[in-house]
Amino acid sequence: MTSGPPGPSRAGDHPPGRRPAGQRLAEYLIGRACRRLPGEARDERYREWTAELPAILHDPRVRLPLLRTVRALFFAAGISRTTRRLRRIRVRAGRSGAGASLGNDGRRGRSTLRRVVVGLAIYLAVLTAFVWYGQTGGSRGVPPLVAVVLVSGAAFVAFCLNDLARAKEVRYLPKWGWAIACLIQVPLGGILYLTAGRIHGDRS
């Protein structure tokens, strides 16, 4: 019961026909939002938040029924923001707790810095090789090289965006921020994402 996913089937007390569509939609959205929570909190929070919906949908201070439905949907949207925030707090708490118990809080920061430096070094090395090859190879070597660079660049961006889309959680920037970084700074944004922003083993 506690681990079961919340959903419309949970509201068994009410005949489904009696609840208006707006309420069912809001319940569905709250159920989706609650999936971000761990099992024991999920069910309780779902019951808490869906129990607020009748009060919103029958609020005598709001005259128009449509406006009350809109308010219920805004409520559900706020619940979605809430669970996202709660998950972020939990991730941060879990990480700092693990860091404190293992005593490696500073080491994690240093290893991130090292990975950024390694990523930048790889980038500079590739860039230097590219410039050097372009200078020594002359005009004949450039077109296939450009093609290789373009194709590998596009493949690299595709790889980064795919990885980003599958990541549950990233560091330092929101996911859309990393997506923009990967797109506008073609090798560098992706390298920075892979070295700094990516959390290993956190794929769906």
Binding site: D13, R47, E48, W49, A55, D59, T82, L86, I89
Partner: protein, 125 residues
């Protein structure tokens, strides 16, 4: 001593709680009284609850309420009441000085910055 960072929205929620310390509030009630969206209110409540300043309890299943599901009610703890009053008093004493906490401006009226006055909870709007 527990620390809470007093933001404007937190201040509004604490004022609602302090208007009647013994009153039980459900979420939508608090949202309306404090004029906050659910996406602001519930993370705040979760944080306050984690700090032990707010407790929650489930309403007994209302048999006569026409099948309304039981609600969860929130209330300040004793510690929460203490911290909330202290924080609001500090905010109130910092505001007239205009220069944050510990404002020592020579030209201010005497008694403009009263330290440690206990605000009556009923005074909150």
């Amino acid at each position: 001593m527990r620390r809470v960072k007093l933001t404007a929205s937190l201040e509004r929620v604490l004022r609602v709680f302090l208007t009647d310390v013994s009153a039980l509030h459900y979420g939508y009630d608090l949202m309306k009284a404090a004029r906050l969206p659910s996406g602001t209110l519930y993370p705040m409540l979760a944080r306050l609850q984690e700090q032990g300043l707010v407790t929650s309890q489930w309403e007994a299943p209302p048999e006569d309420a026409g099948g309304r599901p039981p609600r969860k009610y929130y209330q300040l703890t004793g510690e929460g009441v203490r911290v909330a009053r202290l924080e609001l008093a500090q905010a109130a004493s910092a505001a007239p000085g205009g220069a944050g906490r510990g404002a020592r401006i020579p030209g201010t009226r005497p008694g403009a910055v009263p330290r440690m006055t206990r605000p009556a909870p009923g005074n909150a709007p």
